[in-house]
Symmetry: C2
Subunit: 154 residues, 2 copies
Amino acid sequence: MMENAPQEPAPRDTAKRLIRDLDRATLATSLDGWPYASLVLVTVAPDGAPLLFISNLAQHTANLKKDSRLSLLFDGTAGLAEPLTGPRVTVLGRAAPIKDEALLASYVARHPSSGIYAGFPDFNLYRVEIERAHLVAGFGRIDWIEGAELLQRA
Amino acid sequence: MMENAPQEPAPRDTAKRLIRDLDRATLATSLDGWPYASLVLVTVAPDGAPLLFISNLAQHTANLKKDSRLSLLFDGTAGLAEPLTGPRVTVLGRAAPIKDEALLASYVARHPSSGIYAGFPDFNLYRVEIERAHLVAGFGRIDWIEGAELLQRA
């Protein structure tokens, strides 16, 4: 008798895992219409929305102030000999600054060195409202996922 | 007597080193105006221009066909406990498909698994003409570099 094959995780679950587990991402923003990629450290709100803590002096923040549309690449392929066989997810969303001491504390808990500038007036917490996400779970294994599917339900 | 401090590499040299040494980058393209970040494997032409080898079936290729403007983040911070203290460079440029057997061979030499699809009709080599680059050599150490400074001179 054949055993049942182990079930693959649902695309939504793979995407949620990448977003929750990775502490950094590549941010894509628009520099006056030109796509601009930069490194950010991230964490997630309890509902699964990514959080950034970025400086007004940084190019990506200037970009977001003009156009709040962004994407974040959460890349789970680090260390693989064949990166294109590994999982990564592009989250498309919009960023807005928020004042939330509890969320800021959770960000600093994950990134202790950010505590140094947590009180600087030019640094702000941004919450990313996910519109949809594009998961590449491996070579040719590609899915679009709606944002609502990635958030925690009560 | 004080010894001379060891000289820091010029921003241009740090940027060139990252572009030449890293075999992967995050590509930012425009998805109908929305910034879209994805993973690509890269190599460089002898003159220092980045090369991509991408499928017409991929979202980033569809994006580039509509708008050739892109950026590539070459991230030299992997493995650092404090990534924001490490070097990374955002290359802004335009991608155009080229037919060049020698450059394709150099790409496949760096990424042997790409040899499997080197003959597939939907895969094409793209050369990136660098317009300028934004180097972050560490926290707050930021420079813009003109594209011409990053290419090899005869």
